[in-house]
Amino acid sequence: MSHAPVMPLDGPAHLDWPQAAAAEVREAIARFPVARSAVLPLLWIAQRTWGWVPPAALRLVASTLELPEPEVFGIATFYTMFNLRPIGRHHLQVCMTLSCSLMGADRLFRHLEHRLGVGHGGTTADGRFTLRRVECLAACGGGPCMQVGFDYHENLDESKVDALLEALK
């Protein structure tokens, strides 16, 4: 059960799938005998398209799949990876689970907090970074590790993280 943030009421009032996304949506639905199975793929397409999943996108997914809106809201809040509010350009997700923690993840996270001036879930004022603690990323042998967006960075320490932050504009 994810500790999902309270649903924001902001974002655009109405959204439609752009042309390229509409093709992806059709292709995703065609993979299943039951359209409802495409709910996670459609939420991913929405997140790729708009950078986050605003309420209007949840309504769009619901209408596309002919599902009640509260069902889609319930699904989107169950999983941790859908951003239900806007995030920074680079999403820093630091693994804090045991293997990474044994190798210094707590210290690394503190370092990032100090460097960026934000805590867990915070976004820097310039909109560049969102920092988040996450659970095991399946990179335990390369701990401490962090995902930036979907990119894995392993065997991190303070200086490697500093160099990485410099490179992420």
Binding site: F78, Y79, L98, L102, C136, A138, C140, G143
Partner: protein, 435 residues
Amino acid sequence: MSRGPLLFRDIDTPRLAALETYRGLGGYEALAATLGLKSPDECIEIVKASGLRGRGGAGFPCGLKWSFVPKNSPKPRYIVCNADESEPGTFKDRELMEKNPHLLIEGMILAGYAIGSHCGYIYLRGEFEYIQRILDRALAEARSAGLVGADVFGTGYAFELHTHLGAGAYICGEETALLSSLEGYRGQPRLKPPFPAVEGLYACPTVVNNVETLMNVPHILKNGGAWYRQWGTEKSPGTKVLSVSGPVKRPGNYEIPLGLPLRTLIDSPEYCGGMRDGLKVKGVIPGGSSVPLLPASELDTGLDYESMNAVGTFLGSGGVIVIDDHTCMVDALWNITRFYEHESCGKCTPCREGTYWMSEILERLEHGAGRETDVALLEDVADNILGKSFCALGDAAAMPVQGMLKHFRAEFEYHVQHRRCLVNRRRQSLEEVTA
């Protein structure tokens, strides 16, 4: 240099993910030697004879699982690969799929053929988006080569295969929760029975197998069940990929013959090469964070299903987490318990509430605010989760607590009496940073 006898034999071959390279090393030969030449029942018998057990964690015999699919059901059947790899300490499927996607595709086609399925799904955890790209590329190649699609290898057998991306939920590694998620619901578990083999995806007969299990299948069907038994023990035949993490000199994935002593894995230069920075082993979690840990005195135990059971733990997913002598066990257990509190799906009370209360107690202990009754209370909460939760997540949260209290109870009591850790190198580093 080869990193293992079977799944890791060619793993570091450049461009192994390309169809041409994979075929050059004998890839898809098992498919050619099976489709139309062996009956589905023969395939199931061969896998049964190999003794292959599920590599995701439960260790259930694979051939037996396949044989539970009803033969004359009019419904479509599905083969689903559990590529959710979410058990803390486990990172083998990620490397296997990243480097050798065609072996998984070949295993899926063969498993599909054996159970009479014409459609398969690979359920990946959301963080594995880059692996979905690798698999989709490999699938496109396999489709162009006629290995996946309406007429596999010109044999008339039709098989479609799709990848599917989860979105961040440990519970989706539990097979019925995975199926709920794949159907487009919240990833919450369902009661068993009915088991997925009878009523799984869309209430149709479904087999759910782990990545590593499916990758063993082409090797077994090509070379036979007896051949597979050249590795391992009588009850745990074959090889297993173990993911080793923690302060060892060379953490990583190692394919071992089942039965290898845990000490050899940690100390041998062939594997992890011992501990780093002069640290000593305090305890080892042998099968992912869900299983009870072993103290250093049990390091000579063999890494196989039955030897691990004999000392009160499980081989599980093969996620070996090595804990050193400068680590506080209360702190380590608090970390593990927080994970289960975060990942409990909320469906049943013992797990939802119990994981919360165990975290509360451990936080108190770790911060020097433990009460006289806390160690007994912690044990009581764990005992009231084990076997009483809806799915295995509750057991997974309770067993590490029970294992820690069995072997390191004195350290927990020390926290109550002295209001501080016996040792804790991580706390010192934390204090340095926050000073």
